[in-house]
């Protein structure tokens, strides 16, 4: 079955967990024992309603403090497809977890409290969504029951949000506005009679209509080699295949290819998976390739079509979302992991720190702190084979690993 990945965003108490709980409940995805657990916990906390956040806040510390600290992954399905929701934290100090959740999602749901309207966290979350180029954004204006389901309030908030969209750098993003009450169930899985003035789709119908996979026609086939398969058994004595996952576009047997960094040319002789052979492989598949010629290829090398070479460079400019409490500073060295390829990187220059409230950029800032986003230039010890993030996200992003703590300290989007 097809899988659609969703991330939620919104400030604390905007009702993210309630919305997810409502989606689970209304699609009958909550089993009796889980529901009983929620009833039990809600009662013991003295609530007279079902606190669905107890279904998603899985850690003791989260339930004690009543906040979401880390991303929880929630699963549900309808008759047509499966859904994975990354329920991300609303607190500013956990913005990095929001970046994590949004990085693999096709859809982002941004919640807004109808009583509060567009606030700083809305700016921040939408900014991250346009930076990550999440294809679809559902702006769910929640708690409509508390503003008498007022069309005026909905329109005002939409107008404020439209002003943000006007400043977005990602024009291809599709943005949908829905007035909801997660608590009362308005416009979640069915259209509500409380909002007769609203003619659009409810949240679930929107989710059902969004394609799970949209490959840009511009993106090129990139095949980073994860490892070389050489069984060395009598049955497969001279067998040699290159295992990896294909990004960007499809490849066919007979395609003329170039191996990077050696720039050796060859032709695809075979595409195989678990003993079966194929003429063509689609984007997103983990398979193995065989080539006409015996070439020295190792992990981290990349196979591309000969007439579609990527950028090959030791200099790099990227937007970096910083995820570590230890700040990013000029001159600092990191392990840069681009797909499965690792090189060493030195921070050359912090060009600007971008204000996530769309108010512009801060120049001359000497470091990038936790949860900040900056344009940074790097020098690498070896070239990487990359595309711009907006052309091929899979080959246009990287992570920065701190050599001392081994922590994943930042994520980069190549410009």
């Amino acid at each position: 079955m097809e899988v659609l990945k969703i991330a939620t965003a919104g400030s604390v108490d905007d009702g993210k967990s309630t919305l997810i709980g409502r989606l689970l409940y209304d699609t009958k995805s909550l089993t009796d024992d889980k529901l009983q657990e929620i009833e039990r916990s809600s009662k013991s906390k003295g609530f007279d309603y079902l606190d669905f956040s107890l279904a998603t806040d899985g850690l003791v510390a989260e339930r004690e403090q009543g906040i979401t600290i880390d991303v929880a992954h929630i699963y549900f399905s309808t008759n047509t497809r499966s859904y994975i929701i990354a329920d991300t934290p609303g607190h500013i100090e956990y913005t990095r977890n929001m970046v994590t959740g949004a990085s693999t999602s096709t859809v982002s749901i941004i919640l807004i409290d109808a009583r509060k309207g567009v606030i700083e966290q809305t700016y921040r979350h939408f900014f991250i969504n346009q930076l990550l180029q999440v294809k679809h954004v559902i702006v769910a204006i929640n708690k409509m029951d508390l503003v008498d389901y007022s069309e005026e309030v909905f329109k005002e908030i939409k107008a404020d949000f439209d002003a943000l969209i006007a400043r977005s750098t990602f024009g291809k993003q599709q943005i949908h506005f829905v007035p909801i009450s997660a608590l009362q169930g308005d416009n979640i899985v069915s259209s509500s009679s409380n909002t007769n003035w609203y003619e659009g789709a409810n949240v679930l119908s929107l989710l059902e209509s969004i394609p799970t996979k949209e490959v840009s026609k511009k993106s090129r086939a990139r095949f980073p080699v994860q490892q070389v398969i050489r069984p060395k058994t009598s049955a497969f004595h001279d067998y040699r295949a290159y295992a990896g996952k294909l990004y960007g576009s499809s490849l066919k047997v007979g395609d003329a290819i170039t191996v990077l960094p050696s720039k050796t040319q060859s032709t695809i002789k075979g595409i195989s998976f678990f003993g079966d052979h194929y003429e063509e492989v689609e984007e997103g598949a983990s398979i193995s390739l065989q080539l006409e010629h015996d070439i020295n290829i190792s992990r981290g090398d990349m196979i591309v079509k000969s007439d579609e070479l990527p950028g090959i460079d030791k200099q790099l400019r990227a937007y970096v979302a910083w995820l570590d409490v230890k700040s990013l500073k000029p001159g600092a060295k990191f392990i840069l992991q681009h797909g499965v390829h690792r090189v060493l990187a030195r921070v050359e220059k912090i060009e600007k720190v971008v204000s996530t409230d769309f108010s512009g950029s801060l120049f001359g800032q000497k470091q990038v702190d936790l949860n900040e986003i900056a344009s940074v230039s790097f020098k690498l010890n070896k070239a990487i084979y990359y595309d711009a993030y907006n052309e091929n996200p899979g080959n246009g992003s990287f992570i920065l690993i701190d050599e001392l703590s081994n922590h994943t300290s930042g994520v980069g989007f190549i410009r």
């Binding site: 009796d32 003791v60 929630i74 990095r96 990896g244 194929y278 081994n406």
Partner: protein
Amino acid sequence: MQNKVFKANQLESESVHIFREVVAQFERPVLLFSGGKDSITLVRLAQKAFFPAKIPFPLLHVDTGHNFPETIAFRDKLVEELGLELIVRNVQVAIDSGKVREEKGKYASRNSLQTVTLLDAIEEFKFDACIGGARRDEEKSRAKERIFSVRDDFGQWDEKNQRPELFDMLNGTIELGQNVRVFPISNWTELDVWHYIKQEELEIPSIYYSHRRNTFLRDGMIWPDSDFIVKDEIESVESRQVRFRTVGDMTCTAAVGSAADSIDEIIAEIKLSTISERGARIDDQRSEAAMEQRKQQGYF
């Protein structure tokens, strides 16, 4: 036959990618094998990831000594058929040496004692990556897990300070003494696993199918009768038509009344079920945070 377009099965491709990353990034990986459906699925995914080469790591079974005999027989058959290397470490050894104390009373189980034996085995073989079949949809603290989950040199999980995982880039860099738990089927649901077992025509232990078994009722659940469980006088053993939806050992796994004796019937039954899979796990019912506490100690 060379005529087809290979279309990615998103979940399978993701899992195969993870397996290949494990072997590339770690020196001594091991697959934690329980004989249950999730670890059987892992074995098939590992076969696919490295074919035609053999699975390049051993299987480790932490045997509580209270397993269903059907599971053990299945394990040995699978290992032999696929020519895999199997390491077995017994909880009994840790009990005999006084390292752990066996629980007493009618709810006694060796489930949480497995952690000590697992950590000992990790140290003995210097495993740096332990691949497990845990899924995020199973349980609320597992919903918070990373795919590469770093454990410190005491085997413990620091759930509040996990490494971010972006796109499908996995960071397995660790210090000596640390290890990583790897969960390749994190994003699969119970039904995804069953659909895959059907698609791949995988064999599974017979106890997943409907059979007659001596059972007794306790706390609203159907417990399998065995020598390892102390029963009250009022708990009377009866033969019932049951199957197991999840397979732990005989002291912590409850049965469900069922006539399902094919994969299709099992799938139909799960779709209609109003109880979650872990609802049949007695080990999870001990407290609201039972799983998180065990995970912090080094459980998988």
